[in-house]
Symmetry: C2
Subunit: 229 residues, 2 copies
Amino acid sequence: MTPFTPASITDSLHRLPLFSGIPPHELAPLLPGVREFKVRAHEMLFQKGDSLRGIHVLVSGQAKLFMTTAQGTEKLLTMVKPGQAFGEAVVFLDRPCPVSAEATQDSTFLIVAKDVLLTMMDRNPVFARQMLASISMRLHELMSDMETCTLMNSLQRVVSYLSQQVPESEGPACEIRLDTSKQMLASRLNLAPETFSRALHHLAEGGVIEVSGRTIRVLDTQRLKTFQA
Amino acid sequence: MTPFTPASITDSLHRLPLFSGIPPHELAPLLPGVREFKVRAHEMLFQKGDSLRGIHVLVSGQAKLFMTTAQGTEKLLTMVKPGQAFGEAVVFLDRPCPVSAEATQDSTFLIVAKDVLLTMMDRNPVFARQMLASISMRLHELMSDMETCTLMNSLQRVVSYLSQQVPESEGPACEIRLDTSKQMLASRLNLAPETFSRALHHLAEGGVIEVSGRTIRVLDTQRLKTFQA
DNA sequence: GGACTTTCTTGATTTCGGTCAAGGTTTTCA
DNA sequence: TGAAAACCTTGACCGAAATCAAGAAAGTCC
């Protein structure tokens, strides 16, 4: 277990994209507002409607952000990976949180309180820009999700997702390891699990991928992107 | 026609939510980076894929932000009203713009160049926060749209939209004036125009609204929100 | 290692909303 | 003012994806 010391926290912070542009010694003013939490898999971090005291940063483990319907079904928005922050937009608007968050693995995360963030932003323009870039990025991702969800059919959505997961500048083939269950991925793509399953089956039949559990082997990246019917 | 002078532009800027927190005399450093444009209805402001030199602020008129499918159909994202800024996230990320923008009425808008914005943010923490709040707001709106588009059926989407348009703290009844054509609204709600029309008809039959052209009279706000089938 | 649960797949059926088509209404503009 | 265009509504039909149902596969835990 990592010791819970100012030095270790400064170190954790410095490894995170959001703070990596800041020299470690300038991170000191943040420390009074940083708290470290450890949660077990399936524990809730916060719920829709909560107000957040600060931004959350996942240090290790995995979490999911999702919305819930009146009927209790979940719609996955995104998986959070180590190094990523979430809740920025909520904190800066002082509004109830529009989503819920839950750890999907045993996880460690930091909460950086709103007040120290604001002071840091005031003192350090580089950090302010970083913060802005981070939220802008989130906005772009959401736009992109909106695009897939509204303009594409089920097969195209799956193709689009897989294509995004393909690493850059590789040969025609590659292997993708899904980071969640297929039903959660289906939810993320706004599909019924059955539909997602059929889409994968269809792609496999067409000879562009091979599915084996959570591992998907893309045989031809180009053909995948242009796969029709 | 408004004269195109530093004084008039400072004045325009100061009226905008994004800059209203800044004393007018502090706006001076922005001026070299501000340009005013006038466009006629149906002129494009920019297209998906363009890179933007600065944020756009609509001074007067009306514009729309939308996405286009490969087949050329449009999906309306949002209507821009006077005082609103757009393109912030694009500017701060230095990425190609994910959406297209077009004036829907004769309009005047300002482009505030990226470099002067960044300098202003560095000098003026209040402005930096304002900028962050503005983008955060956009993110929240998009989340809310995502929620309606993915978790609700057609009727619920229309009900949700109308409910949002109802002014706060009023009696049970009120009148809503649609700010665009019904087909555009349909697109915004991710519905075929026919489906939108049928939804309104259905609500009118149920006695919760009365439709007359672009004016919709809500007879009972509460019943509207809980209207089923 | 075997029972239990959870996850995934496959087929049959249904349904919501899209598409097509046609008629009516409103707006635009000469 | 009147013709043309754009917009809206309504009905009939169709289809993509959800739901329902049941069985197979994989993961979990004594």
